[in-house]
């Protein structure tokens, strides 16, 4: 409508969609469709919407990055076609979904967006020189628990013989709002440094160390504002801050999208989850795959296998198909810096999507 940027066939000057075979539907989708949920997916969804509309120019898709919780809540009221969420559905949410999905089916979630979480820092003489710092899980956990307070602490220095570390105090910066990023971040500690990190797993930051900031943007700008800060943020938001190389096996692995794909590829699915068609990744933080980067955020899309409205079903099927296609994943990685889904996951996703009934 009014003011729309012509939904061009590709997403900008260096757009990528070479073909659209992957979206198998012969008749283009049309109508208004809504989604809401994780803000982490926002940049990717914007790219997907643009890409999807390239082949389905009459489909109007709106995404409200209101947050995972709000997204799922809204989805469970039936107001949206799908939800984006940084965590898999809880059991009671699966139960509730039967009232929204048709024919007593229950909602399912599939991973669509994988993004490495960077441990960012700002340290004069190191980060501004473009250097990384090596750390293992225990060191990171101790820093974030306030047990290591100086940058030249022995624990850090030992792992970074090449760096001259100053005697600067460490200021930890964490999310102040409830966040999937936080949960994914600390779950890495729970798996890899259980002795150094004894808090319960939660989307809220558990201790009072350092400073809290609202949203990824808040964390990044806070880290930027002072010397000696360290925080965690979605890879795409890192900018020119320094990043920590994380110990994987015997080596230190710098952050990269590929590294995130690798760790997911090396992970198993959680088979204990309730409900059908669900694809829930149990991230293998202990991976030793060369080049893998274990701190990742896996974000899901949540949909129904059957909808009360066929048009919605048709749309959702086509939409998810596009999103999980290699084309869609490539678009997202260009627009949001995310890691493409490994083939193993993409296949599982495809099987679940196939289950959506359009007739």
């Amino acid at each position: 409508a009014c003011g729309d940027n012509t939904t061009a066939s590709n997403s900008g000057s260096n757009g990528s969609s070479s073909s659209s075979d992957t979206t198998s539907s012969s008749t283009p989708i049309s109508g208004n469709f809504n989604g809401a949920g994780a803000s982490s997916q926002q940049a990717a969804v914007e790219a997907w919407v643009a890409g999807f509309q390239g082949t389905n120019p009459d489909a109007k898709i709106a995404y409200d990055p209101s947050g995972s919780g709000a997204g799922v809540k809204t989805f469970l009221t039936g107001a949206t076609a799908w939800a984006g969420s940084d965590k898999a559905l809880a059991d009671d949410e699966v139960d509730q979904s039967s009232s929204v999905c048709a024919a007593n089916t229950t909602a399912f979630d599939i991973p669509v967006y994988i993004s490495p979480i960077a441990v960012v820092f700002n340290l004069k003489g190191v980060s501004d020189a473009g250097k990384h710092i090596n750390m293992d899980a225990t060191t990171i956990a101790k820093i974030f628990d306030g047990k290591i307070t100086k940058w030249n602490d022995k624990a850090i220095a030992d792992q970074n013989p090449d760096l001259k570390l100053p005697d600067t105090a460490i200021t930890v910066v964490h999310r102040s709002d409830k966040s999937g990023t936080t949960q994914n971040f600390v779950s890495y500690f729970k798996d890899q440094a259980p002795d150094a990190w004894t808090y319960d797993l939660s989307e809220n930051w558990p201790n009072s160390v350092g400073q809290g900031a609202k949203g990824t943007s808040g964390v990044v700008s806070t880290v930027k504002q002072a010397d000696g800060t360290i925080g965690y943020a979605d890879f795409s938001a890192v900018g020119d801050l320094g990043t920590v190389a994380v110990k994987v096996g015997d080596k230190y692995s710098e952050i990269s999208a590929d590294g995130a794909t690798k760790v997911i590829d090396d992970s198993e699915l959680d088979s204990s989850v309730k409900g059908d068609n669900r694809v829930v990744v149990k991230i293998n933080h202990a991976t030793t795959t060369e080049g893998a980067y274990p701190i990742v955020l896996v974000s899901y899309m949540i949909a129904c296998p059957q909808y009360k409205d066929t048009k919605t079903a048709e749309f959702t099927k086509a939409w998810l198909t596009y999103v999980t296609s290699s084309d869609g994943q490539k678009t997202a990685s260009q627009a949001a810096g995310s890691a493409p889904l490994p083939d193993s996951i993409a296949q599982k996703d495809a099987a679940s999507i196939e289950a959506i009934k359009t007739k």
Partner: protein, 318 residues
């Protein structure tokens, strides 16, 4: 005279019904205010009901989930939030009160007329600057800029518990937020106080001057006493704004859940409003109930503050 007479004597359309209808509408609108406030209270209460009447175990689970296990009861959760809210707003009011009075007096009694008109306009405009913009400015510009100052305070006045160091860097602290809120409410208090000072009766001001009072003595004799209750209610309006400010706090403050007066350190306090905004997007149904419960507490607090202030000014006037 006949034509005039005709004009004057023509029967008037009966205004009696219109009179009645108008009167009823006016009454209804007056009463509507009561209804609206009651509705606010009731709807919030209704949505917060699971907190009171619902499964208490689930509640404490939700709350400890919100706080990372730091609190598990509603009051244990609201307490520090309430403390933080009051602390931040009171500080903001303290900072802006005197400055606002100064500016208001400057505009009403010191500045030349042209400058005063221009300033009034600017102040009115500033009162309308959206809080997100203060949030942006505070978070991105002020926080790094003010650190040296806080550091200086912490170094030299650290012996005062309020200013106990080390000053957090970056300064996402209660002190910084209070400054931003003070800047935000400054135009409101200024603009209302200025209006009142401008209304201070000329006669009494002239009487004071004619007695040989200096300008400041004149202000003390004839302007401030006159403006007292108005200034108090302007401040209350400012305080109310500060109590309820969301975005600026959300975007600047590093929150914490303690009863702490350490203004220069991060992660000490959080306000109710900012907390709602921070938790709301990711909250489930029960979580929303808890948040609305805290909102209800905030509502009651602003209610009480305004009520008390109002009663105080009433007494002073009487």
């Amino acid at each position: 005279m006949s034509s005039q007479e005709k004009a004057a004597m023509m029967p008037a359309a009966s205004g009696k019904t219109a009179d009645k209808v108008f009167r009823v509408i006016a009454y209804a609108c007056g009463i509507l205010i009561l209804v609206v406030l009651a509705a606010v209270f009731l709807f919030l209460l209704f949505r917060a009901w699971p907190l009171i009447g619902g499964d208490q175990k689930a509640n404490s689970q939700t709350i400890s989930d919100f706080t990372g296990g730091k609190a598990s009861s509603f009051w244990g959760y609201v307490g520090p939030l309430l403390f933080g809210t009051v602390l931040v707003s009171a500080l903001a009011l303290l900072i802006s009160f005197f400055v606002s009075l100064g500016i208001a007096l400057f505009i009403s009694h010191y500045a030349p007329k042209k400058l005063a008109t221009a300033l009034s306009y600017v102040v009115d405009l500033l009162a309308a600057i959206p809080s997100v913009i203060y949030g942006l400015w505070g978070g991105l510009i002020l926080v790094p800029a003010i650190y040296p100052f806080w550091n200086w305070i912490a170094t030299y006045f650290g012996w005062i518990p309020l200013f106990a160091g080390p000053a957090a860097s970056p300064s996402r602290t209660v002190a910084t937020v209070a400054v931003v809120l003070a800047v935000m409410i400054l135009p409101i208090i200024t603009s209302l106080s200025r209006d009142i000072f401008l209304q201070a009766p000329r006669l009494q001001q002239e009487a004071a001057l004619a007695l040989g009072a200096t300008k400041w003595e004149m202000i003390k004799l004839a302007v401030l006493p006159f403006g007292k209750s108005g200034v108090v209610s302007a401040s209350m309006l400012g305080l109310g704004r500060a109590l309820g400010e969301t975005m600026a706090v959300l975007m600047i403050l590093s929150p914490g859940l303690t009863y702490s007066f350490k203004l220069l350190q991060a992660s000490q306090n959080q306000t109710i409003a900012a907390n709602i905004a921070a938790q709301y997007p990711e909250a489930n149904d029960l979580g929303v109930s808890v948040l609305i419960g805290t909102g209800l507490v905030l509502f009651l607090i602003t209610f009480v503050v305004n009520y008390v202030a109002r009663k105080i000014t009433e007494k002073k006037v009487a």
